[in-house]
């Protein structure tokens, strides 16, 4: 197979060359001696299609583990995985399997790939510019060797034929160049151009990616209705900055959450499915801007001063007032985090400044579940059946002792550190617990205090992000698609027409076509051009009679296809008549 290809190339000579600027793949033999020789050899290997292919394949292979093993971006899942797989986790950690896409070996693959790409694209671009500036190559000596070929004899002079051919090809938007006896035409440069645009766009994407990750900053904030947020570091629940964008760069703006709207289907098979989540807010930019009404919903973030605020999740925050043994009252609004779509929400309540019956500090803590529409089930325990507040219930256990906050260590507000806490118990020793509707009060044993469930507020959590490189990525993406379409759908091809006076004084017209891709259309196009030439270079009548000059249409396949050709001929006759 390859031998045939090689001979083909040799047969066609310059005419067949450079129909594309695709690199000719040759595995260089043993490199010349010396460092320079080795370097040149390695560079040639790296930029060869073969190595590029292998790198592409490696890239897809290397991307796989990151989709199956939890990554650093999802800390929660990662911790669970580490706890479960204690033996492999250290190994995974060492080889970077928990942060595949920022690991050195993943970077190595794509950097090599892009270097290889650059080594391929830059010379190809120059070559392409060269092709655009030069003329289509001259006709090969032997046009019969081309994939599509046609010939006939005519009484028109060679000059008339070449001029007509030039016009016909120009009319078909071919670039043409005329030599004394032949016309060369070439078309479909956009294929190569598209190819280059596509590959250059990939570089654009890479740069945009890099910019994005360098300048991306993201923070999260949970806001209870009625509360607000101001964009500075102290206000964030969590914040991660980029190399080029840190806490100092935060834009001054803020917003207040007026209320959170949620709508669910209340009947039909889709009962309970969310229809609408929307945070209604007032926002302001700058330090003394006027508040403006706005809304944030999923898919519709709010843009304030170059930053975007996304709605991430929402839930309920029970409002409780806690009275300690000495009668001091604190009122708290405590967000509980939902674990299912019906908003069954576990949570903890901490009272840090309470006193015990003896007058000494004795912190109180409550742990339990809030359910907007309560149900009790022997296996599941307390849970919620519907996400709106139809039958709200707060079920709590109570504990007291030391919350461990005063030690100064960072503590998760949604978890209790049990080490120095003691659960209240009933007289029979079972844990003390109470399920409360709004307005109910839980009186702790032994006069330790009480907790009143006063009401419920909704909360919404937001992600505030700063991102750069989006436009670059979008433009590159669009460029990649357009380039790809050009390079896959456009055919680059050449057509040559030669007219020579034979020894008997009759002009012999020869026409050959060469396409880069394996399209059969080049033959049809040759046929069409031939048809177009016929008025200026009619077939000599006596040739038709003896049927000598055109090769006989011997193939049986010809019988199946004439429809298009025939009508074309008829049309043509009609046009001339």
């Amino acid at each position: 197979m390859s031998i045939t290809e090689k001979t083909e190339r040799e047969d066609l000579g310059a005419a067949g060359a450079q129909l594309s600027t695709a690199p000719v793949d040759t595995f260089a033999e043993a490199p010349a001696l010396g460092l320079l020789g080795w370097l040149r050899w390695m560079w040639r290997q790296l930029t060869s299609m073969r190595v590029a292919l292998i790198l592409l394949f490696l890239l897809s292979l290397a991307a796989i583990p990151g989709s199956l093993i939890p990554q650093h971006s999802d800390q929660l899942k990662l911790e669970a995985f580490k706890a479960k797989h204690t033996t492999v986790s250290p190994i995974y950690e060492k080889v970077g399997l928990f942060h595949v896409y920022s690991s050195p070996w993943f970077a190595a693959i794509y950097i090599l790939l892009f270097v290889s790409l650059a080594g391929c694209i830059v010379p190809r671009s120059w070559q392409f510019v060269g092709q655009l500036r030069s003329r289509p190559p001259r006709a090969p000596r032997n046009l019969t060797r081309l994939p599509a070929y046609s010939t006939w004899r005519t009484d028109a002079s060679p000059e008339e034929v070449t001029e007509a051919a030039r016009k016909a090809l120009r009319g078909r938007r071919f670039r043409t160049s005329v030599t004394d006896t032949s016309v060369a035409g070439e078309k479909g440069y956009l294929r190569e151009f598209g190819n280059l645009v596509f590959h250059v766009s990939l570089f654009g994407l890479l740069i945009a990616f890099a910019l994005t990750s360098l300048e991306k900053a993201e923070g999260g904030k949970l806001v209870v209705e009625g509360d607000g947020f101001v964009n500075n570091l102290t206000q964030y629940d969590d914040f991660s900055g980029g190399t080029l964008y840190g806490a100092d760069d935060l834009q001054p703006f803020g917003f207040d959450l007026d209320n959170f709207e949620q709508k669910y289907a209340t009947s039909g098979p889709e009962k309970g499915t969310a229809l609408k989540f929307q945070a209604n807010i007032h926002y302001y930019s700058g330090t003394d801007g006027k508040p403006v009404k706005g809304k944030i919903s999923i898919n519709h973030p709010l843009s304030i001063g170059g930053e975007k605020v996304y709605l991430i999740s929402h839930g309920y925050a029970p409002v409780v007032s806690i009275k300690d043994a000495k009668g001091n009252v604190v009122r708290e609004i405590v967000p509980f985090l939902p674990t299912d779509t019906a908003m069954t929400s576990p949570g903890v309540i901490k009272a840090t400044d309470t006193l015990g019956t003896d007058g000494k500090p004795d912190q109180l803590a409550f742990r339990g579940i809030f359910t907007p529409t309560v149900a009790l089930n022997a296996t599941r325990g307390w849970y919620s059946t519907f996400p709106t507040l139809q039958k709200p219930m707060l079920i709590l256990n109570a504990l007291h002792g030391d919350l461990g906050i005063d030690s100064g260590a960072q503590q998760n507000v949604y978890q209790l550190d049990d080490t120095h806490l003691k659960a209240f118990t009933n007289s029979d020793g079972s844990p003390f617990a109470k399920a409360m509707q709004i307005g109910d009060t839980m009186v702790l044993p032994n006069g330790a205090g009480s907790l009143t469930f006063e009401g419920v507020k909704t909360w919404a959590s937001f992600s505030i992000t700063h991102q750069a490189g989006n436009e670059g990525a979008l433009i590159s993406g669009v460029g990649a698609i357009l380039g790809l379409a050009g390079s896959l759908f456009i055919q680059r091809r050449r057509i040559w027409v030669r007219a020579v006076r034979a020894e008997d004084g009759v002009t012999v017209v020869e026409m050959g076509g060469l396409g880069r891709s394996e399209s059969a259309r080049i033959a049809d196009e040759i046929g069409d051009v031939a048809l177009q030439l016929l008025p200026d270079a009619p077939v000599r009548p006596e040739d038709e009679a003896d049927g000598e000059a055109p090769p006989p249409a011997a193939d049986a396949g010809a019988e199946n296809e004439p429809a298009a050709g025939t009508t074309a001929v008829n049309d043509d006759e009609g046009a001339r008549a």
């Binding site: 290809e5 990151g66 006939w152 975007k308 990525a473 698609i481 193939d555």
Partner: protein, 370 residues
């Protein structure tokens, strides 16, 4: 609200009936295709080994002649008949290097009249089944009043409809693709069966994250890309079999078994390869667009255009695998079988992205409803 819900439920039920009826008719089409292959088989005409050898020799001679033609570089094919065409010069085309000069097989019916009749019946059944199938999808859409692509059940049914629709469109364009019929009806039956039994989700509203017009753009492109990638994958698989067979034929080995009898009737390896390539090259830009549209949507919904979510990662892997295939086809030493294996790997990635990621991996695209 209640009345509307009842109407919706009615629509959903109608949709289910239609999909089930479609499956029944697809099964009929499947049987008719089987009959086509059986009647087209040589064993039915009771051709004995002498005739087989004769044909093998004839084929060899044909291949030899084709080679010689290639050597003279004149394989003749004109775009004109005999009488009117005197005026039009004949165009001579030369077989390309990858062409062995072996002609396409006669098709499943193998030239047998009865087989051909069954083949036509099969196509008619497929058209009927597709109409039922497509209206089933439409009713589903009416019942949920949105794009019917919110979960795996809906995606699977639409996917099958698009694959069969593309096949029928190719047939309508007078492309010779009836050879794909048996494989297509088989897999569509599997696809729908799986959708109804394992993936079924009753008609539901979407979670708010999917309330976006990007659902129409992103998911429809994914479905069309997948369906056409699938047709290409069938072509590629058959190319590998047929290529194997052609190698045996040119080597003069016996190919008169039942397997050879099936292979004989397929299009030539070169045609199958071309078919697969065209299909893949046609949708590769669309697949690229699918990913980019997804990225734009992700930017709007989640605040980042790319986050290495499992679904995104596998879409990327699939993309790279198809890019590998397209490059391999243009690289000496990788053409033909090696490139074909790459195409199959790439489609495997697509399938994993659909079934594997939805069912076994949890990520932001977890709308499987399983």
């Amino acid at each position: 609200m209640n009345i509307a819900a009842a109407v919706n439920e009615n629509f959903a039920n109608n949709s289910n009936y239609l999909i089930r009826s479609a499956m029944f008719v697809y099964a009929l089409a499947f049987l008719a295709h089987l009959a086509e292959w059986v009647f087209g088989g040589r064993s039915k005409i009771a051709v004995q080994s002498a005739a087989l050898i004769e044909e093998a020799q004839a084929k060899e001679a044909e291949a030899e002649a084709a080679k010689q033609k290639a050597a003279r570089q004149v394989t003749v094919k004109t775009a004109a008949g005999s009488t009117v065409t005197l005026e039009r010069p004949a165009v001579v085309t030369r077989a390309s290097a990858s062409d062995r000069g072996i002609a396409d097989g006669p098709g499943a019916a193998g030239g047998d009249e009865k087989g051909d009749r069954y083949g036509r019946i099969a196509v008619s059944f497929t058209v009927l089944a597709w109409l039922l199938h497509a209206s089933g999808v439409a009713f589903r859409a009416a019942s949920v009043q949105r794009a019917p692509w919110g979960n795996m059940y809906e995606f699977s049914t639409t996917f099958g409809a698009v694959a069969v629709g593309t096949y029928l469109l190719l047939l309508a364009l007078k492309k010779d693709v009836r050879w794909i019929g048996l494989f297509l009806t088989t897999t569509v039956l599997l696809d729908l069966g799986l959708a109804l039994s394992v993936l079924y989700t009753s008609s539901e509203q979407l979670v708010p994250a999917l309330h976006s017009y990007w659902l129409w753009i992103h998911v429809s492109c994914a479905i069309i890309s997948g369906a056409i990638f699938y047709l290409a994958a069938v072509g590629t698989m058959l190319f590998l079999f047929r290529d194997h067979y052609e190698v045996a034929v040119t080597a003069g080995k016996a190919t008169d078994g039942r397997w050879g009898d099936i292979m004989r009737r397929l299009p030539s390896a070169a045609s199958l390869d071309k078919f697969a390539y065209r299909m893949n090259a046609l949708v590769f830009p669309l697949w690229t667009f699918t990913i980019i549209a997804g990225a734009i949507w992700a930017q709007a919904a989640w605040g980042r255009y790319w986050g290495w979510d499992p679904k995104e990662t596998w879409a990327f892997i699939t993309w790279v695998a198809y890019a590998c295939y397209l490059h391999a086809r243009a690289t000496a030493g990788w053409k033909g079988r090696k490139a074909a294996y790459l195409a199959l790997v790439a489609f495997g990635c697509f399938l994993f992205n659909y079934y594997g990621v939805n069912i076994f991996v949890s990520g932001k695209h977890s709308y499987a409803g399983v």
